[in-house]
């Protein structure tokens, strides 16, 4: 009985708190009235103009020099420059899931299909896989200029590996070298974060010169980080595929 009364009281207090803050229009309240704030002036404008500290100026493609993040792709500039720690967390989540799959499913020998792989598929994959790999690498190198970035580029590389796996019964990636690449890329990401800590005072600080918006060598640390993320995601997903298509025994 007592518990219920306390629960009801808590709900009442919470409801009053929410009502008082959300549905009142006073000056000193936590939230302004719904619909009265122009959010595009507050947040997105500052991201678009590459400046989170104030001083909004217009950014022109291939002309503006030394903008705060210097990346022409706005999404990349938010994901890797302003929220790089979050990206590190995402990479860690992917790593943990790949680790779980590796622990549960990894085996020594390659799984054989019940029916032999299609010859047409085999011939097609031989032509197409190189194009897919090059496109994946292009996407993560140009992540700060065009749509894309480390995660899409890495998944594209892994899709080429998957094509090799389903077109050939004997194919098996060099799991050890992929694991080495993955570990190196991940630790280099952290090392660049620590370098930012020593150079600029913040973890993952963008300490390199940002250059002209729209050129390949611009945006400071962003393309370097995206190369690491792309390599890590690509090798991780490839290992995931090879774990799924392997079996114990013999």
């Amino acid at each position: 009985m007592m518990k219920r009364v306390i629960a009801a009281l808590l709900i009442l207090v919470l409801a009053l708190f929410i009502y008082g803050n959300l549905y009142s229009t006073g000056e000193g309240k936590l939230f302004p009235k719904f619909g009265n704030v122009n959010l595009s002036e507050r947040v997105s404008n500052k991201f678009i103009n590459k400046n989170a500290n104030g001083e909004n100026g217009v950014v022109t493609y291939k002309e503006t020099k030394d903008a705060e993040s210097g990346s022409a792709n706005m999404v990349t500039s938010i994901v890797v420059n302003y929220r790089s720690f979050d990206t590190l967390g995402e990479v860690t989540v992917l790593f943990v899931s790949a680790l779980g799959v590796g622990l549960l499913l990894s085996g020594k020998s390659r799984m054989k299909f019940k029916t032999p792989p299609n010859f047409i598929l085999k011939a097609g994959v031989r032509i197409i896989a190189g194009i897919i790999l090059i496109t994946g690498v292009y996407i993560f190198i140009h992540g700060h200029l065009t749509p894309g970035g480390g995660f899409p580029g890495g998944s594209m590389i892994a899709s080429a590996v998957l094509l090799f796996y389903i077109s050939d019964d004997e194919f098996r990636t060099k799991v050890k070298s992929f694991k080495f690449l993955e570990g190196t890329a991940g630790s280099l990401y952290l090392i660049f974060g620590l370098l930012g800590l020593t150079m600029g005072g913040y973890f993952l600080y963008n300490f390199l010169p940002t250059g002209v918006v729209g050129e390949l060598f611009s945006a400071g640390i962003v393309p370097i980080i995206y190369i690491f993320v792309g390599l890590k995601v690509g090798s991780e997903l490839s290992n995931l595929i090879s774990d799924f298509l392997s079996e114990e025994g013999k």
Binding site: T115, P116, F119, I120, G124, I127
Partner: protein, 113 residues
């Protein structure tokens, strides 16, 4: 120049319409696959090439897309057809089946290479 491009685009759209109609009207997997593949291959060919001719700046890019589609699209549909045959999907109104003999005569080990 742009008139040819628009005509090509219209032809591509027509192929897409016919492909969609085929997906509804055709009796079994293989016929539907054929209709859909015709739509995606030829339809996308003429659509993309039409865009490239109407906007000459993009012509090289569209040519690359066409080459990529030439390689991937028929391969994908042939793999789908073979997978459905192996899985045991019966063709509609089959009069003569030479594939079964082919698979049996070569045995289970190596069917096609």
């Amino acid at each position: 120049m742009s008139a040819i491009g628009y005509i090509l685009m219209i032809i591509g759209a027509l192929f897409y319409v016919l492909g969609g109609l085929g997906l509804v009207r055709m009796p079994d997997v293989y016929n539907r696959l054929q209709a859909a593949t015709k739509a995606t291959t030829l339809g996308t060919f003429s659509l993309v090439l039409g865009v490239g001719i109407a906007q000459p700046v993009w012509f090289v890019k569209t040519l690359l897309i066409v080459v990529f589609l030439t390689i991937t699209n028929p391969v994908g549909s042939s793999v789908l057809a073979k997978a459905s045959y192996i899985y045991g999907v019966k063709p509609f109104k089959l009069s003569k089946n030479e594939l079964d003999k082919l698979y049996k005569s070569r045995g289970d080990e190596n069917a096609d290479n």
